[in-house]
Amino acid sequence: MANVFAFAETRNGELRKIGLEAVTAARKIADETGGKVDAFIAGAPGVGAHAEQLAKYGADTVIVVEHAGLEKYNPEALAATVAERIRGGAYRIAIFPTSALGSDLAPRVAAKLGVGLVTDVTAVNLDGDAVIVQHPVNIGKVMATVKMTSQPALIGIRPNMFTPVENPRAGAVERAEPVGDPSASRVVVKEVKLGSSAKLDLGEAPVIVSGGRGLKGPENFKLLEDLAAAFGNAAIGATRVVTDEGWRPHSDQIGQTGRLVSPQLYVAVGISGAIQHLAGMRTSRTIVAINKDKEAPIFKIADYGIVGDLFEIVPVLTAAVKEAKSRG
């Protein structure tokens, strides 16, 4: 029987999609062996209201930790609290998101517990007492099968690999206190600046419209914003050239040293397709490329390529997508 712990990430009191993905992944593993899923959610008072949703996606129990000192990310308090819950839980696996928060939290917890951690996991299976995970290495050019034998094994799941599936359970709420005093943390998040809240996160968006140097300047990203608006469920991404030039914020960069994304649809506009860029988006389900150079490497991996001037093509595409959407 494999009991599984799932860390349900929140931000600003809202449950993030990756939190539901963690619960979904946990449910799948637990169901293979008749085990239970404990979801863990922490934040400012009121965050426990999400317990119902976690139950809907498969949590047998929801551990709720509410404290004013957990309103913003509090790495030390959260790591201590999570580590203690996992220590007491006899879990086979503890699942974290591979997000900015999860990538900071999971290694701390692993070190406190003295157990193994693999992040950016794309698939999880059990094999006797071991946990077997798939984990891309060498900037995604090689896939590693990794065997984990610690009890529990800590894994960070890659966003968008475990589509949330409803699987309702009782979701009994268990309230808990933070370990130690959250206001005594040495590392303190003083301020969080977020782009417009209407903006879809790159890791969660089903469609990404991404621009490169071919856009020629920040003002022309309006073209991509219009295209994204036509899709309705799209976020904007960029190459490193674009973020280094300051045309878009660093947080929009996709690639080896930026975000790793795997949307349903990736539209690469004026992007050459350098390996460091491909490393961040090659697992996208469908890739479209628009580039005036028919030799551009991006066309080697694009399911559908159009050769030509983006300034001519993108507005026409925006209009066509709008029309297709309105027809349903």
């Binding site: 701390r108 077997i132 290495v137 050019k141 590693a144 559908y304």
Partner: protein
């Protein structure tokens, strides 16, 4: 100030990898190796502090086979003061085992800052830095793209999804470096000459117990060869049709 920087020697990624006959590693024949990019920015961050305060000592630590000496020498050529090789036959995949060895070396070293890259390009767990910080009981801030120090307090910026976090922490601390903090300098000829004479100690690595291992490596399935459907705006209707009927994303 006393600063340690942990650097990893990794293969140059701009190649088509082959899997070695043992099946759980890449074939290293013909690969070029260099310092992990994020780690070069960590070295640069340390050297920029040293540029302002020449009393600062910058120590480079790398765990690996003797081949890491070349990588350590590069950091010394950039301007670091001395190096330590923590010797193993080959670098294990298990981040916690590596972290134990690094922590054992760094413990009691009196460092004000211990710097890491955000992530290694080969194992790509982004875990070792924060693990070492926990093992040493030090404050940890990961993935920083801006750093300011004022006396015994530091402030840093972290890139998060769709925004930034501004964090304060006391020294001594462990930091992991994201892109955007700086651009690494190239070693000058003078630096390369000087590096040959800088101390480089070799000690056996006290790897922790390993519970994570790679059992198989394979090349991911190639995407089907790309397909150009047409030229110019006249190809748009066909594209939209394919997105609806074939890719089913519209």
């Amino acid at each position: 100030m006393k600063i340690a920087v942990c650097i990893k020697r990794v293969p140059d990624m701009d190649v088509r990898f082959k899997i070695a006959p043992i099946g759980n590693a890449v074939d290293e024949a013909g690969l070029k190796f260099d310092i992990n990019d994020f780690d070069s920015w960590a070295v640069e961050a340390a050297l920029q502090i040293k540029d302002k305060d020449s009393a600062t000592e910058v120590v480079i630590v790398s765990l690996g086979s003797d081949s890491v000496q070349e990588t350590i020498r590069k950091a010394l050529a950039m301007g670091a003061d001395r190096g330590v090789e923590l010797k193993v036959a080959r670098i294990p995949f298990d981040g916690l085992a590596i972290a134990h060895a690094l922590a054992a070396e760094l413990k009691g070293g009196g460092f004000d800052l211990i710097l890491f890259g955000k992530q290694s390009a080969d194992s790509s767990n982004g875990a070792v830095g924060a693990m070492v910080g926990e093992l040493l009981g030090l404050p940890v801030v990961t993935a920083i793209s801006k750093l300011e120090l004022a006396g015994a307090t530091g402030s840093a910026k972290r890139e998060i999804e769709g925004g930034q976090e501004f964090v304060e922490f006391p020294l001594p601390a462990v930091l992991t470096i994201d892109q955007g903090l700086n651009t690494a300098r190239y070693p000058a000829l003078k630096g390369i000459m000087a590096a040959k004479k800088k101390p480089l100690d070799v000690r056996p690595a006290q790897l922790g117990e390993q519970s994570v291992s790679v059992t198989k490596m394979e090349l991911p399935p190639e995407r089907p060869a790309g397909r150009i459907i047409g030229e110019g705006a006249s190809a748009v209707p066909e594209l939209v049709g394919l997105l609806q009927t074939e890719a089913k994303v519209l």
